[in-house]
Symmetry: D2
Amino acid sequence: MDLNSDVGESFGSWTMGDDESIMRVVSSANVACGFHAGDPVVARATCAAAAQEGVTVGAHVSYRDLAGFGRRFMDVSPAELTNDVIYQIGALQAMAAAAGTTVRYVKPHGALYNTIAKHEQQARAVVEAIRTVDESLPILVLPGSVIQREAEAAGLRAVVEAFADRAYNADGSLVSRRLEGSVIHDPEAVAARVVQMATDSTVETLDGQTIGVDAESVCVHGDTPGAVAIATAVRAALEDAGVPVTSFL
Amino acid sequence: MDLNSDVGESFGSWTMGDDESIMRVVSSANVACGFHAGDPVVARATCAAAAQEGVTVGAHVSYRDLAGFGRRFMDVSPAELTNDVIYQIGALQAMAAAAGTTVRYVKPHGALYNTIAKHEQQARAVVEAIRTVDESLPILVLPGSVIQREAEAAGLRAVVEAFADRAYNADGSLVSRRLEGSVIHDPEAVAARVVQMATDSTVETLDGQTIGVDAESVCVHGDTPGAVAIATAVRAALEDAGVPVTSFL
Amino acid sequence: MDLNSDVGESFGSWTMGDDESIMRVVSSANVACGFHAGDPVVARATCAAAAQEGVTVGAHVSYRDLAGFGRRFMDVSPAELTNDVIYQIGALQAMAAAAGTTVRYVKPHGALYNTIAKHEQQARAVVEAIRTVDESLPILVLPGSVIQREAEAAGLRAVVEAFADRAYNADGSLVSRRLEGSVIHDPEAVAARVVQMATDSTVETLDGQTIGVDAESVCVHGDTPGAVAIATAVRAALEDAGVPVTSFL
Amino acid sequence: MDLNSDVGESFGSWTMGDDESIMRVVSSANVACGFHAGDPVVARATCAAAAQEGVTVGAHVSYRDLAGFGRRFMDVSPAELTNDVIYQIGALQAMAAAAGTTVRYVKPHGALYNTIAKHEQQARAVVEAIRTVDESLPILVLPGSVIQREAEAAGLRAVVEAFADRAYNADGSLVSRRLEGSVIHDPEAVAARVVQMATDSTVETLDGQTIGVDAESVCVHGDTPGAVAIATAVRAALEDAGVPVTSFL
């Protein structure tokens, strides 16, 4: 099973997350490209750390919104979005090459990730960007999303991901963060869920049912000490269960 | 003789220069990479126009200073500068590829161009960036500059350029813009000077001497209607003199 | 009748619009505050020109989006929006004071203007910002908009504006820009319409009806030579009709 | 004795420093204005915290350089610098007013602080900005600096500051950070030095001499847990010595 996490989100004098620790846990690193976070120095150092740990590098592309950390929907035109994504991938490709590695997948960030799960025009703009850069680059997506459908229709590989610490509804969607119980905080509980996803392709829903989860990657976080502890527990539990943590590539 | 000019310096809703006209005049297009000007939509359209006209694309890299248009010296560290330049080249490479062309040289912009003519540490940082991306990329430089020396010492090709509309001192340096007569405004006079540079490798200095000028490229401007008229006259005069306008590559 | 126009939208080395000409036409100047356009040098010079011409200065507040010129909807939180607007008004107040004048009203720009015509939460956030800075500052609004209702409910003065060059539907709304005939390009026709608005409080709709228009200000443009010609014709026609062009204050 | 510290340097999703703790220690808060750090939400919350704790608010103005955190010299023109500073003070005045307080002094940040200690033209540009906004606003300066001289010559109050944790040379200048012993890390040693500054107006130099120090404010830091511990020790020691910590105003 692949584990992916957002890294390289420091910017200038501001740091974010414990990249050093999380890089020892994951198999795929979603590296910020400078539009929501990250700068060229940070991006290169992050790619170098990924190369050092044998972690696959992905381009964590975003709306152009440093002040909002890419978490605010922006009604950008398809041409703007396509070219913003191409620019970010290209910039990160150069930083990755400087660090002795390569960009091997794309994961949209934050509000863009959420938007293209439903917004056809923006989803197509992202697909168009990836196809323009390199048709062999997979894209990490929410299962059942518009972006999954559009990516696959265009011949891209869409890698569906599950969320280690999020509760699921019976229809396979995520429980809204506004509802109680939407986020699971206990490291052992989270770890056990991920093992179940990896070994049985199932997960317990918030209301106690068991549903199928067919993920090729599981998203973990590294932005707080608690998050790193959870991610570490997930990796340890997978390895204990005989599931190697390895890239989906 | 190569003619180069700065293009792609529009940004969002702001336009700058008459890129459409200048692209029909030059053989090399210095395309802004987003740090002093240009955005992904503009960069791609500019590269597409260059490809259409058979013009070679160069990365016009800069300090990160949109508000100052890259015209203000910034005391950046070597690591920041190296990585900022790598990032910009990589981003433009992706935009160029999307437009069906490639980045084939680098020209530093504005304050960075002037700084690395004298500032060893920043010059080396730029050289390091280009070497990291692609050792075969030439860099356009001021003749006799520190960046020329550092680039050549590192094994890069340094392409020296002359300035079509600038007066020269007897030592081959440019007459300061603060002095009267530093800029030549008459299109025919400028054109005649460039023809002399191209055919005799000489130029008349402000005080009436004739000195050698050994340029592989001549820089022309496209930011005003007057500048475009001059550039157009330069090209016509070169062609009339039997000097083809063609890339230094 | 008041005439208002967007000014101060140059940024760094990029210029936009013919502010010098439009400043001799209007009675109210919507001065960009740096979030979609404008920088401190431009803002101060624009305020100084307004002071010189006896034109009232308003704060043209926007989403934080230079790359998009404030024309893209952004899903900002109420707290972000309120504080972004307060910040912009305060910054412009200082530039206006430096130029010997004061900020006397607020006009939201672009996507923010359009959004708060319908979006209650963002409308309230803008109202909250103005109330926090100075409850006596009027806000320029689209007639019948959510922002008009919210501003008035909060005790602010909402100044409704008409659009000189836009066609109207029978219900008083603007004809969509996507439809033919939505924008009127003939200076004399536009001027005649504004005179009718000012003297009869009516306007002809696209389908030939006459409806009431109760505007305290008319918006004109200065971003193209054609726009300045229209604005100039509007002012001349108003003066010929004995309608003084004067601020709504 | 006044204690001042830099606060409000978080930006968007990035946090910096322990403002909550440092605000209980200092009497003067240098609040970032958005050019090197800080955003409108952060600035307002920081001013509100200062108001709550009875701490005086100052405008911590900077070069426009978020990526470099204002720590890189920029060769801005006097007109740009003057207007950038006016803009920042005005913006912070609005945020402070929204938080129930006012901006009562100015402290230049980072590279700007260091530059105007020596650079006459930039020093005058900052003085011009403050005079334009409000001649009664004092400016915090390095003793013996060009900015002190220029501010005083222009009729501004220049408040000289000492540095709690920095070693001094015999001529009263700070020991370069590149030299061993330039920064003092022991909280008790730092606290004792500040008490000596406050009660005897003297300090021990790195080479063991005692020199006069005539500071109206002492700068402490809050960006690391160690820095907060030092600042807290300084305040406690001053109070133990019967020296009230109170604004220079």
